[in-house]
């Protein structure tokens, strides 16, 4: 039931954004932005609760996101697949997306990326641990795909710019 409150609240939020903004692209952008703001704060809590240390490589990061973070916050464990040969890009496949229970997209919102908040959360959280990533939905059950697929691409390490002379 808790999760129903959560799912319904998310639904009410997306509905409200659809009323507030004129087109789907703008709503997608807002969801991403809200997610980003959540992510930059969520990471701190995540690190504290999971007591996970620094990841050795992007593969480890992928595993932590799927097996620890998703499990902890959404109660599901996506699978990590479709690695690019260079190892800088992978997919999270969600059999069940808890955000979309009871959801159907109306015909006039065919370009809405309903769960786009998740992309923002991932981007925001990883940015706080010095990783710039590109996150987007590649497949979505709401739009008729069999599974939900989130594609993540590593862009670069963010160097910490400390002011000169500051330790």
């Amino acid at each position: 039931m808790n999760s129903e409150l959560f799912t319904l609240t998310y639904g009410a939020l997306v509905t409200q954004l659809c009323k507030d903004y004129e087109n789907d692209e703008e709503v997608n952008k807002q969801l991403d932005k809200m997610g980003y703001n959540i992510g930059v704060r969520l990471i701190e809590d995540f690190l504290a609760r999971s007591s996970i240390g620094r990841c050795q490589d992007f593969r480890e990061t992928a595993d932590v996101i799927a097996k620890v973070a998703f499990k902890m916050y959404l109660g599901v464990t996506p699978s990590v697949t479709n690695w690019s040969p260079a190892g800088d890009e992978f997919s999270l496949i969600l059999e069940n997306n808890p955000l979309v229970d009871f959801v159907e997209l109306p015909d006039n919102h065919s370009t809405l990326i309903y769960s786009n908040l998740l992309c923002g959360v991932l981007r925001g959280a990883l940015e706080m641990v010095q990783m710039a990533v590109d996150v987007r939905f590649a497949q979505d059950t709401l739009r008729g795909d069999n599974v939900t697929e989130i594609r993540m691409k590593f862009i670069k390490r963010i160097e910490e710019n400390l002011p000169a002379g500051d330790e």
Binding site: M1, F6, A12, I38, R41, R49, M72
Partner: protein, 160 residues
């Protein structure tokens, strides 16, 4: 605190928080509008929740019976604890007191954010009003906080 419990409170809270932030940025002068938007969102959520919760329950015999259901079953499922105290004047006014309201536990318990609380509670008031509305009761729901995180909801049933 278990993680799923945390998930709900935290994410829920941040949804509302970012929405409040966005709304106040867009309509800086119109605080009433953002509160009513949040109330409206809560209303829809309350309608959806009560529909799922009452699917298998027998029909209610009167207004008080409905209020008791809201205070016990509904509150427990949605906010994870029962209402601590229910009072009524038997003329359609009810005061529901929750001494540790789930959505306020994320705010600091000092006096610092006391004036911010109504914004966070607008959503919850909407949830209660939505639930009652689907059970056939039109109501006006307001909330009042004097000491965090305790909260009093006043429900006034609108007679036709």
């Amino acid at each position: 605190m278990s993680s799923d419990k945390f998930l709900q409170d935290y994410l829920h809270f941040t949804f509302i928080q970012s929405h409040i932030y966005e709304l106040s940025r867009q309509r800086p002068t119109d605080r009433a509008v953002s509160v009513s938007v949040l109330e409206g969102m809560g209303f829809r959520v309350g309608q959806g929740l009560i529909e799922r919760l009452t699917r298998d329950s027998p029909s209610f015999k009167d207004e008080l019976d409905i209020m008791k259901f809201v205070c016990k079953d509904f509150w427990t499922k949605v906010f994870r604890r029962q209402i601590d105290n229910l009072r009524t004047n038997h003329q359609g006014t009810y005061v529901l007191q929750d001494n540790k309201f789930a959505l306020l536990t994320q705010l600091s318990s000092g006096k610092q954010y006391l004036d911010q609380a109504p914004k966070y509670l607008a959503f919850s008031c909407g949830v209660v009003r939505g639930a009652l509305s689907n059970l056939g009761l039109d109501s006006v729901v307001t909330a009042e906080v004097s000491v965090m995180p305790s909260c009093k909801f006043q429900v006034v049933i609108q007679k036709l």
